[in-house]
Symmetry: C2
Subunit: 234 residues, 2 copies
């Protein structure tokens, strides 16, 4: 009954590369392999905190395994097989984040680092048990979609960046798309979490004045690019 008979055993590093190629190559709301773009060596090197030369080496290895299509000087794309692996890793990650939050009381801003380490080490049995415990959730605590057991990414409701709201508009935080711990801590502190209501009060040169959790803040522009907002009634 093992449905992933064909899955070769990959190293932690290899899984991480595939996951990052997926994340970097996907549009913020993209969901299928066809909608991904090629990812550069540099981008990967930055994200993985590794030198570009190391990335080149790994990409060659992944290309040999037919998990990516790689042409020198032109960036990488996932193959169908590589996409599957990336989604599996992403499913582990996001299920773990959700479980840590719901079952163990971690703050939504704390779950990333722990999940990052565990995602490569849990069995399919573990994945299944936490998914069942959670009732097969569709989104993690950051608002990111969790790939299904069949490895499809659920479509989300339409969202816009917080930066794109006009003064006076309100919305519900749908997703906080940051990997940066400091930014997450700040958002958590401000009560700007998925599910919360926000209102844009005013656009200023240094940022955006918003109201969230009953308080007003001036949010630097960079941070308003990271928060995705859905219609209030939607």
């Amino acid at each position: 009954m093992n449905t992933s008979l064909s899955r070769p055993v990959l190293s932690e590093a290899q899984e991480d590369y595939l996951k990052q190629i997926l994340l970097l190559g996907s549009a913020p709301e993209g969901s299928s392999l066809e909608h991904t773009t090629a990812v550069s060596t540099q981008e990967l090197a930055d994200r993985m905190e590794v030198k570009p030369a190391s990335v080149t080496g790994m990409l060659k290895k992944l290309a040999e395994l037919a998990l990516v299509e790689y042409e020198a000087y032109k960036g990488v794309r996932l193959t169908e097989a590589g996409y599957k692996v990336a989604l599996e890793v992403l499913r582990h990650h996001r299920l773990l984040e959700t479980y840590l939050h719901q079952a163990l009381g971690y703050g939504w801003e704390e779950v990333h680092a722990e999940a990052e380490r565990l995602e490569h080490h849990i069995s399919e049995a573990f994945e299944k048990r936490i998914a069942e415990w959670l009732g097969h959730p569709s989104h993690d605590p950051h608002g990111d979609p969790i790939p299904t057991a069949e490895l499809h990414l659920p479509e989300g409701v339409p969202t816009r960046r917080l930066a794109a709201l006009e003064a006076g508009e309100r919305g519900l935080v749908a997703r906080v798309g940051s990997q940066d711990q400091d930014a997450l801590n700040l958002f958590a502190h401000l009560g700007l979490r998925p599910g919360a209501q926000v209102e844009v009060l005013e656009h200023m040169p240094e940022g955006v004045r918003v109201r969230a959790a009953g308080e007003r803040y001036l949010l630097p522009v960079a941070l308003t690019q990271i928060v995705w907002v859905a219609e209030v009634g939607g």
Copy 2:
């Protein structure tokens, strides 16, 4: 607030060696560093499923880190520092086993493999949260004692091997001390789990006739050495 400031970052392999040196060097009921015996290269090689040459190499490295005392041809012992690390790993392992059993519904015979992989990858925060969720348990699902947060091994009630009971004697299974999955599966199947009552019916050349969970079995001698039994009323 980090209480383990001094703890150097060790590799997974190094942690595993330290753990096995502790387990192999401890008497079945032993609990302090003074009561441990030296462990041979061969024993370690067998347990870790690795060649003796590899063990020698690792022991040299651990000796340099002052985690073990090692003299060529004479086996290894843990130092105070190595003992601490080993207990920490053991605590992670046994807490995880307990958590998998209690919180996620794993069978007591299934938890070992999953815990084995996860023990090296959980944070102190994770350890703390599952310990709290479990109410700071003193024993894992196999009946093995869990080192406390302060890294002391709790004393157990006195136990004897099932093999040592006279015909007609009864007792409570206190501990099933096996790492072998097949043996565990068998015990689980027979209902011979920690907490269950057993009675020795008869000693025979090929094994011991016992009654457990209302049924009678002939248990091979080797397996009766693995099961530890406490007084019924004790």
